[in-house]
Symmetry: C2
Subunit: 289 residues, 2 copies
Amino acid sequence: MKADDIELVTRRPVVDGATQLVGIVGSPIAQVRAPEVWTGLFHFHGLNIICVPFHMLPEGLPDFFAGARRLRNLAGLIVTIPHKPAAVNLVDGLTERAALVRSVNFICIRPDGRWVGDIVDGIGFVENLKAHGVDPRGMRALLIGTGGVGTAIAFALAESGVSELFVHDRDTARSDGLAARLSNLERPVRTGPPDPAGFDLVVNASPLGMKSDDPMPMDATRIGAGSVVADVIVHETELLRRAAALGCRTIDGTGMMDHQLAFMAGHMGLGEMDFSAATARRIAAAARR
Amino acid sequence: MKADDIELVTRRPVVDGATQLVGIVGSPIAQVRAPEVWTGLFHFHGLNIICVPFHMLPEGLPDFFAGARRLRNLAGLIVTIPHKPAAVNLVDGLTERAALVRSVNFICIRPDGRWVGDIVDGIGFVENLKAHGVDPRGMRALLIGTGGVGTAIAFALAESGVSELFVHDRDTARSDGLAARLSNLERPVRTGPPDPAGFDLVVNASPLGMKSDDPMPMDATRIGAGSVVADVIVHETELLRRAAALGCRTIDGTGMMDHQLAFMAGHMGLGEMDFSAATARRIAAAARR
């Protein structure tokens, strides 16, 4: 770097002694977008907060939580893979949806120091559908994959007013358990085969499609041309390509994260400020220029 | 903030998922300069590392250390007031000087995960003297205040070749203990009264002078006109004002921090890069423009 670059690089102190931290804890961590997205939003609003990655292996999580709980300048903690289920047992309380989903992806640090776990993955997914003009209300929906993210989405879809919801997992005990828990909500949730025929909304919440040589999560030839097909994976999967070729509306997982920002910001007491997906994208676009 | 400011604020991502962290742990923390100074230097060198404040009360330190030791993206940890003595008992090993001084202000994280505590306050102090053209070699020196910083400076002065070193503390047990430990180095270190008469180098390493109504750490009227008078406090103290009025050369504590940067960078495996005090100041000056 040339000396001339000093001014560009240091024009604004990005962190000082009074900076508050929002952490994101996970492993692997290098790929997460939260530090850039959140830090851009905080600085846009003139807040002295940054989002920092905490790279943590599963065996270290209890010690890490015990230490992080002592921090006086931690404003919130985002929890990502593989720590979302384990975090359930390391907090002082859970929101209703986190208790049902048995997974935590954001920890709200209350003024009295209590750590309360919430899961907003599912809300982010449904908000992203709505931002694409797709309201799940009244739809017949099929959800493949009932791990942490799939469970959160199932809960959010059930809450959003789908007319029917079928869930499927290769681990049938897992999908059976989810259907049983959700049935307490008096929503029509059942397990079913991974057959997309006849559904208005088809969702892949399994990891199949992350790698190019993954098998398909379902028989894509059976997708109806009028279906909406959504995937939680952030790139265009083979499933989405085939669905698009059939004439379906397709929605990838990219926006699901951005639509969680406002909910997390609310937990940090910043609900009055603009943490919308649209503003996050404007800032990201400016950063790439 | 106006929308036009987005580009300025986010022109360069300051933190992303792959960012390494250097922490500074202390209480209070808002006043520390390390996050700005180090982050500016890291970015100047094109390194994806930032320095973040960790606000931690003393009772939380053992838990915090246990958790921070699990982090896989922590590149180093700076320890400041009030944690320097406690950190001695929370690491796997100490440098010789940290063992003697019984205080830690930087933790080197070895490739095998071992945490080794070092203390470079004293080295920074002596390097700052030299940067001002003052070589302590052969000088008769008086040091007031034998807390953590004073002890580190006493050790570094003894190592730097002063001809005589007298130390004083209002807590005489503390200064007696320091003199006994340093005597093992076969350096002429003795305790003495807080009387600056006849010394070439007079150092205040006590906190007296931080507040404007503090008593003087010594009888300033007894300072010789040819003495060098140095203070660890980062603003111009009443002691320095009176010494300057007597015609003495005076040096405040500002540079002491900047001259530790290169030693800490060496501990982070960055010893080949320019972490000099001069470069740190150029970057800080550019940031203020």
